[in-house]
Every structure is written in C-alpha cells, then in structure tokens.
C-alpha cells in the first residue's frame, strides 16, 4: 500500500459492497474499452478527515498523477483518481501499450489516453454507485493533472471544506494480465452532506 490508515474510519458493510460493485462495473467498462480483462479491487475503503487527504499517498509534496472528474447532479463535488508516477506509467503500459518514460513527461496523446481510462472507469463507477443509491450523479469531462499531491487536492478541499469534513477514499488496485503493480486511490469528494446522503441511501437500499 502507498499510504497508511490516517484517522480514517471504515465504511459500513452495505457501502463497502456498493463500492465493490461500482469498482467491478468500472473494470468491466475498461475491459470493454481495451478488449482485454481488467479488474479493479479495493483493499480498503474508508472515510478520511479532509485534513489528512493531502498526505494519503505520502508527503503532500510527492509528485502524483491525478485523473479528475467534476461531478454534478444530486450533489456537486469531485471524483479524483490518484496514482503514483510509477503506477501511472504501469497503467499506460498495461492498458494502452503506451510506454511513457515518466508520468511527468507524458505526451498530449498519452495524457488524453490516460484521461479516457479515467473517464471510462470513473463514469462506470459513478453510474453504478448512483444506481445503487438511486441518486443522479453526472460526471464532467476528465482532466489530467501531474503535480504535488497537496497542490492537486487543496482547491477541491477548499471547495468542499466549507460544508463537509470527510472524503470517501477507495484504495484501489488494477489487475490486468502481465501488468506491473498498479495501485492508487479513488477519492469521492462531494460537497454539503453529499457523502452522508450517498452512504445513507446505500445503507437503506441494502435493507
């Protein structure tokens, strides 16, 4: 694992099951996109205080690659997939047969390919989660940012920090045949009580 549990608390079992199903849906969408089996699994799903989010993957000045999707619908906010540089390079190699020397020197084409991976998996993930919670969640076009972890995230934390205090953090592994280790984090950062509403809805749906 890249990061340790930092004051995080595990989610309730129904939320965990919904996240697992949503990740499975993301994996299926990726499999359809690239024509080879890919799956995503979550060793850990937790609710993390916003102040601890920049340090999730190590020091907040650590270079990371982020695939960002703005969210609107029944709540607004942010979905971010965060990867180490090594994982980003491995992901591109495994899924796209693209060999980037380093994540920070990606070509425009490689960036857009990576954005598409995030778009396909992130949208499928959100759709599955929205269905389970019976809510409307609409992702915007994906953006790629490569910079320090803290810098990538602090604007989003400022945006939602006025109305909320925790983020849903999904420690995620990509599994693809022959791929080197690919691990990262899906962060779901809804504003207001979006996260609580999603969690409540998922718990209610499971009966």
């Amino acid at each position: 694992m890249m990061g340790a549990l930092r004051n995080g608390s595990p989610v309730a079992p129904p939320v965990r099951r919904a996240v697992d199903r949503a990740l499975a849906a993301g994996g299926e969408a990726l499999t359809a996109m690239i024509g080879r089996p890919v799956s995503m699994t979550a060793p850990l799903v937790e609710l993390v205080p916003l102040g601890a989010v920049p340090g999730l993957a190590g020091s907040p000045d650590r270079p990371l690659v982020a695939i960002y999707l703005g969210i609107s619908g029944d709540f607004s906010g942010h979905l971010v997939f965060l990867l180490s540089e090594a994982s980003a390079v491995n992901l591109m190699a495994a899924l796209l047969a693209e060999r980037a020397a380093a994540a920070l020197t990606m070509t425009a084409l490689q960036r857009s390919a990576l954005a598409e991976v995030g778009n396909v998996s992130g949208s499928a993930f959100l759709n599955a989660l929205a269905d389970a919670a019976q809510m409307r969640i609409v992702p915007a076009a994906p953006l790629i940012v490569c910079d320090m972890a803290g810098a990538i995230l602090d604007g989003m934390l400022a945006d939602i920090g006025r109305t909320t205090d925790r983020a849903l953090v999904i420690h995620t592994r990509f599994n693809a045949a022959g791929a080197d280790a690919i691990a990262g984090y899906f962060l779901l950062l809804p504003d207001a009580d979006g996260l609580a509403r999603v969690c409540r809805a998922l718990e209610a749906e499971s009966g």
Binding site: M148, G150, I152, G155, R162
Partner: protein
C-alpha cells in the same frame, strides 16, 4: 548547522524562534503560504491558508485556515514572542489554479481569491508584501528559514527560487 523541518499543515500556523527551524508548507496549490519574519528578533511564522474568508467558517475552525483571520492571528503570535510588526518581512506563495476548468466551475479559482484576501488582510494591518510567488497552474513547496528569513520556493520541473 542541522536544520529541523517543521511542517505547516492545511489551516495551521507555526511560529518559531529556533535558529535551525525551517517552517514548511508542502504542496501549495490554491492555498496560500504566508511567511512573516522579524530579521532583528529572528522570529518567524508561517500560515497555510485554505480559504479567503472566515465568514464561511464552521464552528471551531482554526484561525489560520482563513486569510482574514490568519494574518492578524500570525502577527499577534509573533508579537507575543517579541517580534516587532514594523520590522516584519512579508512573503507569500501559492494561490495557483490547478484545474483549468470551463465556465460554471469558476468557483474553483479559489487561489486568486486567497491571494487577494491575504493581501487585503495584510493591507488592513499596514503590512507591505516584500515578495510573492503566486498564481499560475502549478504546485509549490514553501520553506521559511528562521536562521536568516530567506524563503525558498520549490516546484516540480520549474526549478527553485529564493525570495
């Protein structure tokens, strides 16, 4: 001399008069790092400002989280340790816009608003900005050396600068 790195987390303020301390804001994006330093008393403070305005505050939020409250709070803490407001060197960094978003999501340009609010709060206390490395679309790490008041700004792929 061995330096001792003191991280200044989101919404925190750290004050020091230990010569080997280096107050550090890691990975500033839209946040503003504010460094105040009295070169005679050799006392410094650093705030890691997240938002422009404490009117947006929920109960029990720390004062350094907001530009308008961080500035007077930092000055008061420095003066309590014997610094003089009249001698303060004022340096700021950050306030970037990391995500190039289309219309309708302009609220994410919180960086520019943080810079503006920090400048306004400084002006209200008649403090002039000595040096600033702000705006742009990239992250910065900011370090204040208590030994001599220099501030080093480092980036990924855009070099390092001492202000």
């Amino acid at each position: 001399m061995r330096s001792r790195i003191i991280p200044v987390g989101l919404g925190e303020l750290k004050v020091s008069r230990a010569r080997d301390d280096v107050l550090t804001c890691y990975g500033l994006g839209s946040c503003v790092g504010l460094a105040l330093y009295d070169p005679v008393a050799k006392i410094g403070a650093m705030a890691h400002i997240l938002l422009p305005d404490s009117a947006l505050k929920r109960e029990s939020a720390p004062p350094a989280k907001f530009a308008d409250t961080a500035v007077p709070y930092a000055v008061a803490q420095l003066e309590r340790l014997g610094a003089s407001r009249l001698r303060l060197q004022v340096k700021m960094a950050g306030g970037a816009q990391m995500l190039a978003l289309g219309q309708g999501e302009a609220r994410l340009d919180i960086g520019a608003r943080n810079v503006e609010a920090t400048r306004a709060a400084l002006a209200a206390l008649r403090l002039a900005v000595t040096a600033a490395e702000v705006h742009g679309n990239f992250g910065r790490t900011m370090q204040l050396f208590i030994s001599d008041g220099r501030v080093v700004i480092s980036t990924i792929g855009r070099g390092e600068k001492t202000i």
